[in-house]
Subunit: 409 residues, 2 copies
């Protein structure tokens, strides 16, 4: 009988120091004794990456990407070898592997490499010998045999890709929260942990500022049908499963989330000629800035106002970009860094109407002014004053009875 | 015209922090601007290796060798990438390489691997493009594609082996002393820095406790005819050249050195039957202990006394070994940890007699009791009371006029 195979990913806070490593080793050992095969993917310990980055900055303000990857990849290499030793200490056979040793091949783009293939032969051989395989997250080897790092959220991606390549039964992402909630529990005290959520909902949550999982990993998991579980490494209890919608009842609204890291840019008196919007947003994209919500007013006497939201840390880039943009004339630019985007997400919205109007009336009752609106098939988002975001979140959570368990669609 | 190629090795104290790295980068940059090709081999920064070892001990009292190597090798990987960035900052084209990337292949013995081959193709290609190549010392890749470390003095060995493989013009070992001296300057204030020394003399110095170079690297350099230079990274001045004797005038005595890290073991009343010494020293060797000087007294009524010296830290191992040894009967064992071995080294001794008698008479004048004597073709060593070692060293240094410059043989 084949043992079930679990790929487990432990982030930086779960492996902050050697005490944490021992705790992770105990958890893995217990899974092994329960008859599972386990592949563990780990990040760098605690502040290791920050420390390495600080050293790099001391010798070069803008370090070469290849050398940066060569440097940063040591963080995960330290964790894998120490965790392997900690498992040996518990009497568990284990072997550590760098990204290269685990067969993770990337393209040539350093610091944000893409995984192009995984050759899981060596990992599989070790699993076949009942060994725990500990893989360095966040890294792979590129065609030049150089270490390449995968960029933000890279360790999650390593875990999901490994799970796909090994056809694992589940990919468990251990983090410092115990699952995905109907809302941020710090804002909504009666927020409820979700037992299950669809890939699409998780994607909306991820892109709406919920920090649990990065979109890239969820997209990869969806593409390859990898069942994900988000759970805490600090307690032993089930987390939130992320899988295909067919396996669960559709719900109208799964949760509500607030993104307070957005800023609103408004261009007033824009010459409303064909191609203006294209030129504007091409220039912003080329500056490396992700634009989220866009609103354009009705044109009046050949002029219009355009508002859009961007990550707050990118406002400087937008300002520089607007100074040198060509073919886009406008009267003035306004920046508002005190906004929040509040979103409701649920696959049931696909087949049900009325969610948006209930959102608007709930906020109207609170006298909250809606500055922008954006929707997808399974999401309604509103941009409002940041100061009112928590109150709005609580009101929407209550209005859709999210503390009561899922409302049938 | 081909540029001269220098391989430079900087040890842990020369790369202790990012300030040191910047200083090393300046030095390398200046050599590059002088028209040299440079390969740099570096150790881990300052206390990095100690810190990694401490973490390993926190999770396992006796860590697995493969994982230990996987862990420790990160120390050098951090240095190479940071030094590469520091060179970029000085406008110098540079690329870092791990042992594996530099083509350093080892056997399968972790923590003390032997270099079995170097494939310098990638290093050479980068040198051909006028790049400084920075190689992680102390490590290579074994047939399983795992990182293997070379053990003590491994970075020196990496540098010498790299110099041999690349047919470099010189291998420079940068350290915290500015060369090899006729004696330890802390003991003998008028000790003189040697401009040149032969491989054989350097080997005797190395094995006699002079910490400048490890025997393994000198042997390798001798075997492959790699000219070595020992010099300091803290100043710009020539160091001591180590090369073949033909290039220099033979001297009677090159220097005097004292090894205070030895202990004397004496077995009294040993049954003097054939094979006793063989059994004794085979057992000690199998315990992993290097025996240096051996003295056996004339047998009296079928019994004899045997004395030998071992590194002080290995006395425990010898004690355990003697407890369980079979076929060697003796009355009692004595340990003396307060001895020193003082040695005179010089290739001229090969063809000249009288050095030993001058040593003995010099020590007799000082009323120093000689406990043991050992000689090679180019060395005379005496074991004496540790308390008298400094005085003896100064007296011998003066007796052979070592402060006066080399005495012609």
């Amino acid at each position: 009988m084949t043992k079930p195979l679990f790929v487990q990913k432990y982030g930086g806070s779960s492996v902050a120091d050697t005490d944490c490593l021992r705790r992770v080793a105990s958890r893995v050992a217990s899974d092994v004794r329960d008859g599972r095969n386990v592949v563990v993917v780990v990040s760098a310990m605690g502040k290791t990456t920050d420390r390495l980055i600080a050293m790099a900055r001391e010798v070069h303000a803008n370090p070469n990407d290849r050398e940066y990857d060569q440097l940063l990849s040591t963080g995960e290499q330290i964790t894998i070898s120490l965790l392997s030793m900690a498992l040996h200490h518990q009497g568990i056979d284990a072997v550590s592997m760098t990204g290269a040793q685990a067969g993770i091949r990337t393209d040539a783009s350093h610091t944000k490499a893409k995984i192009i293939a995984i050759d899981p032969k060596r990992v599989q051989e070790n699993l076949d010998r009942d060994r725990v395989v500990i893989v360095a997250g966040f890294q792979g080897v590129n065609p030049d045999m150089d270490v390449a790092t995968l960029g933000r959220g890279g360790s999650d991606l390593t875990a999901v890709a490994m799970a796909a390549a090994l056809k694992a039964d589940r990919c468990q992402i251990f983090t410092d929260v115990d699952g995905v909630y109907t809302a941020d529990p710090r804002v909504v005290p009666n927020a409820r942990k979700l037992d299950v959520i669809t890939f699409d909902e998780m994607l909306e949550f991820a892109s709406m500022g919920a920090k649990v999982l990065q979109s890239r990993s969820v997209e990869f998991a969806k593409k390859f049908g990898v069942e994900l579980e988000v759970l805490t490494s600090f307690e032993t209890k089930p987390g939130t499963l992320v899988n295909e919608a067919e396996q669960m009842e559709d719900v109208l609204v799964r949760g509500v989330t607030a993104d307070k890291n957005q800023a609103k840019v408004t261009l007033r008196g824009v010459d409303d000629t064909p191609g203006v919007a294209a030129r504007l947003f091409t220039a912003v994209a080329e500056a490396g800035v992700n634009v989220d919500v866009i609103v354009q007013n009705i044109s009046l006497e050949g002029h219009t106002d355009i508002s859009f939201t961007v990550p707050r840390e990118d406002v400087d880039k937008v300002q520089i970009c607007l100074k040198k943009i060509e073919g886009v004339n406008f009267r003035e630019e306004l920046y508002d860094g005190s906004i929040a985007k509040v979103s409701l997400v649920g696959v049931g919205m696909r087949s049900h109407t009325g969610v948006a109007s209930k959102v608007f009336s709930t906020l109207a009752d609170l006298k909250v002014n809606i500055q922008m609106i954006s929707t997808s098939e399974i999401r309604v988002s509103v941009v409002i004053d940041e100061k009112l975001a928590d109150e709005a979140t609580r009101a929407l959570h209550a209005a859709f009875d999210l503390d009561q368990g899922p409302e049938p669609a």
